[in-house]
Amino acid sequence: MALAGRTAMRWARLRSPCPAAALLCLPPWLPAGPVACERLYSSRGKEKLDMSTYPVESIRNFSIIAHVDHGKSTLADRLLEITGTIAKTGRNKQVLDKLQVERERGITVKAQSASLFYSHEGVNYLLNLIDTPGHVDFSYEVSRSLSACQGVILVVDANEGVQAQTVANFYLAFEAQLAIIPVINKIDLKNADPERVEKQIEKLFDIPADECVRISAKQGTNIGKVLQKVIEKIPPPHCNTADPLKALVFDSTFDHYRGVIANIALFGGEIQKGHKIVSAHTKKRYEVNEVGILTPNEQPTHKLYAGQVGYLIAGMKEVTEAQIGDTLFFYKQPVEPLPGFKSAKPMVFAGMYPVDQTEYNNLKSALERLTLNDSSVTVHRDSSLALGAGWRLGFLGLLHMEVFNQRLEQEYNTSVILTAPTVPYKAILSSAKLIKEYGKAEITIISPAQFPDKLSVSEYLEPTVLGTIVTPHEYIGKIIALCQDRRAVQKDMLYIDEHRVMLKYFFPLNEIVVDFYDALKSLSSGYASFDYEDAGYQAADLIKMDILLNGNPVEELATIIHNDKAYATGKLLCERLKDAIPRQLFEIAIQAAIGKKIIARETLKAYRKNVVAKCYGGDITRRMKLLKRQAEGKKLMRKIGNVEVPRDAFIRVLKRQTDK
């Protein structure tokens, strides 16, 4: 076979720069010796790599998937070290998690990739580790990453066992028909019980217990075994260099100097600088400027060959040009495009406003820059009489929203008002007039202002999710009560071992977007885990609730809610407003109303005394300052009828109530 010959050639070439390499094969650009150890990443030498020495048979493309904190990034660090991709120092922590928010939260938001070189039983392998985000909010990223893989390492904490995200991630991989290598991590911990976890894996995923690899990523135990399994269990990609070029774009980033950098997986052919390529999606033509692999920084190569994973720069100016899921092929050699991906649909919407309107332009440019690298966020301009000009943003989920907000604050130093999240509802119109107006019978409702009247609607629909909860069994009672309170319907309940239960519930999405996760964590002392996936729309008894101040509706406080929740929500909003609006010269009725029906009321009594007791010489200057500030403040107040509502009050009522 040709493989033997090529391998021999490669050995011959490697022998001189890398004489010490016996079993462990250093990548050719990394000089051995002390210099290398001082570097966190491999050096980016000018010399380009020749990737032709890695035929399809010696390539393995894989991801690591895990529940949050189960050690995915630590295992990635060890794999990078053992293969010499990064120098072995005590400082390698979450090397692939480049964002500050990822390091702080211990999560992965943006998938990264790294090519590892590893020699096993005399064969040099190219192992492409394609990192994945660990949370369902980013499951679109997970599926994208998985589409470039043939197998996954499923990491499970030996102490915590299978958790909700473990289950969700397993099914993503299983449905993509990938080889799955179960790895039980943190066996060094005192309370580690790998046997129990093996049984859980056997019961839930039907994988024999003896196939699990027990490791400690932290201490580096058994990492070689993991690599061995990767090589043995995961098939090489099924493709051929002799075929015409067929490259899948599975991710992209934007670099201000170099433009779009597309991460690609080659399903056929080869690619190099100067090649003329076409996007199957846009039909636009490009000339390739640079190709290379990620180590995890960009390392240019002469070419990329079928089965390999790397990056491409080809003069694309905007991220939209590198449509994720797009197929690239040679000019005049069109191929059948790869299936691509469903574009990620925003499931959670929230208003975003600058704290100070003078910051509007700064925030706008920060948003533009951040969405360049996160095209899953949808942005619509919006304005509120109370909060000024801002945007209505659509996110994939709550964590996505929080992470986005945190990145905005950390990376762009802007602080914003984020309103309580809402979900996209739908309505099936029955009024011929409205159908004509919208040009369709089913419409999506993002803001309460668009909510069509019941009389012209045959049915309202709300988004639902299938939630997975894994919990120690002693919390089941409380959790079931919580789920029922959230209008959830049980689908499944399974003991995954003697002490742990997995519950599956259908939830209306709006019932979990605000504080479900916090509630679940607090009633289970932090032990229950939760994950969810999209489960389509269902009919729902939805209504629009108005908030009235002395009979006048407050536009920005209108909400769409389920009929069953109207009373409780109305009461809560009225109470919050009562605390947030200062007393005025007259009594203020704060009411929640559905149509003409008042369902909740709070009364803010009129001021009966508001005058400072002493006002003599010494106090006057201070007093005048305060009065003038109040007079200034009046100009900024939102007037609802005769009621003055300070901006703060809106912020306090509309803002997400976090970290209670």
């Binding site: 010269l585 009966r608 508001n610 400072v612 005048m624």
Partner: protein, 391 residues
């Protein structure tokens, strides 16, 4: 013009007070006296006032100063400007430093009106306030004062103490009415940041007085005092038989006053150096630093800010509306010769709305609060300032 010399020292710190005051083991009274005298002279000369209408010794606790100091300051005032025989000369006094002999000494020095910080006639309340005196001592002091300053003794009372009930306040006020002379000041206790009392309330050791209770207490007091023949002539001040405090009225009418002593505030036109604009002036707060400045340059003015015509009108409004007479057309015209009260507040706008709601009156005599409006003045003022600023 009205000089107001400050005696910045107290024997003890009261739990509610955040004034500029100093508790020191020994006061070098000779030096302080010399400085008060010198600064009074300097500033009176600077203001070029011809005649002094009132003098008010505030603090601190000015009754801790010796009558000699009071006399020396008054001599200095009389030396620098005309001090008519009938001018109101008030001393703030604490019941614990207001025995008959001492008060007689003050009278001999030139004091003709006394304002006594009774605060409460309940021993438990006095302890809560951190006062030095007992209710019995307060009675004694007020009676002694009335013997020496008949018809010209005022008492201060506080209400809205943490835990105080409406009933307890009404009983206290009834007792005070038996005791008092022709002038009473009733102050709602303000929990000032940084005071011991505020800390106990915010820490939860004491209850926060509910807003509605405070309003009830105020209305009860107004009604009781009016029934007893008092005129409610300013938010916190009541007088009968015409015993209004000339000095305090001059603050609320935005007349000129000259602050003398550590931390004293003043509002006057420094004509002596060719100035023609009213200035807001503050003397150096800390007594030792103030003294050094007076000794080296004749005065311890730390900050002076020229008040713009608009700022002056804002003060006229904020202070004038505290009184029952409000702002007369004449008074307004003095500060705003070209833009009448009618031109500013007689046009459609906030003031008109407030009139319609029954909080304000603008008529032939001027602009003033209604009886109900006076209790809500701080809600009316921002509206009126907005309207004024638009002109």
């Amino acid at each position: 013009s009205a000089p107001c010399p400050q005696w910045p020292y107290c024997r003890k710190r009261c739990s509610y007070c955040n004034f500029n005051k100093y508790v020191v083991p020994a006061v070098d009274e000779v030096a302080v006296r010399a400085c008060l005298v010198r600064e009074a002279r300097t500033l009176l000369r600077l203001s070029q006032v011809q005649s002094v209408t009132s003098v008010f010794f505030g603090g601190g606790t000015p009754s801790l100063a010796s009558p000699r100091t009071i006399a020396a300051v008054l001599e200095a005032v009389a030396g620098a400007a005309h001090l008519p025989a009938g001018a109101e000369i008030t001393l703030e006094a604490n019941p614990s430093s207001a025995g008959t002999p001492r008060l007689a000494g003050f009278r001999a020095a030139g004091i003709n009106r006394l304002s006594i910080g009774v605060q409460s006639l309940d021993d438990a309340e006095l302890r809560l306030l951190g006062r030095e005196h007992t209710a019995a001592e307060a009675w004694g002091a007020v009676e002694a004062a009335q013997g020496l300053f008949p018809g010209r003794t005022s008492i201060d009372l506080l209400f809205g103490l943490p835990g105080q009930s409406q009933g307890a306040w009404a009983r206290g006020l009834e007792a005070a009415l038996e005791l008092c002379d022709n002038h009473v000041s009733l102050y709602q206790l303000t929990l000032e940041r940084g005071t011991a009392l505020a800390a106990r309330v915010s820490g939860g050791a004491l209850p926060t007085p509910p807003q509605d209770l405070l309003a009830d207490m105020y209305q009860t007091a107004r009604a009781m005092l009016v029934a007893a023949g008092f005129r409610h002539y300013e938010v916190s001040n009541f007088a009968r038989k015409g015993a209004l405090s000339t000095h305090n009225l001059s603050y609320w009418r935005a007349e000129q006053y000259i602050g003398v002593g550590p931390g004293a505030h003043g509002r006057f036109v420094p004509r002596g150096e060719g100035g023609c604009s009213r200035e807001a002036r503050v003397q150096t707060l800390e007594p030792d630093a103030w003294m050094r400045e007076v000794q080296s340059q004749g005065h311890g003015t730390r900050r002076r800010v020229v008040l713009s015509p608009l700022e002056q009108l804002e003060e006229v409004l904020a202070l004038g509306l505290r009184t029952d007479e409000g702002i007369t057309h004449e008074h307004w015209g003095h500060f705003s010769p070209h833009l009448s009260l009618e031109a500013v507040f007689g046009v459609p706008g906030e003031a008109k709305d407030l009139q319609q709601q029954g909080w304000l009156v603008l008529d032939g005599s001027g602009l003033r609060c209604t009886w109900e409006g006076l209790a809500l003045l701080d809600s009316l003022l921002p509206e009126l300032l907005c309207q004024l600023q638009r002109r």
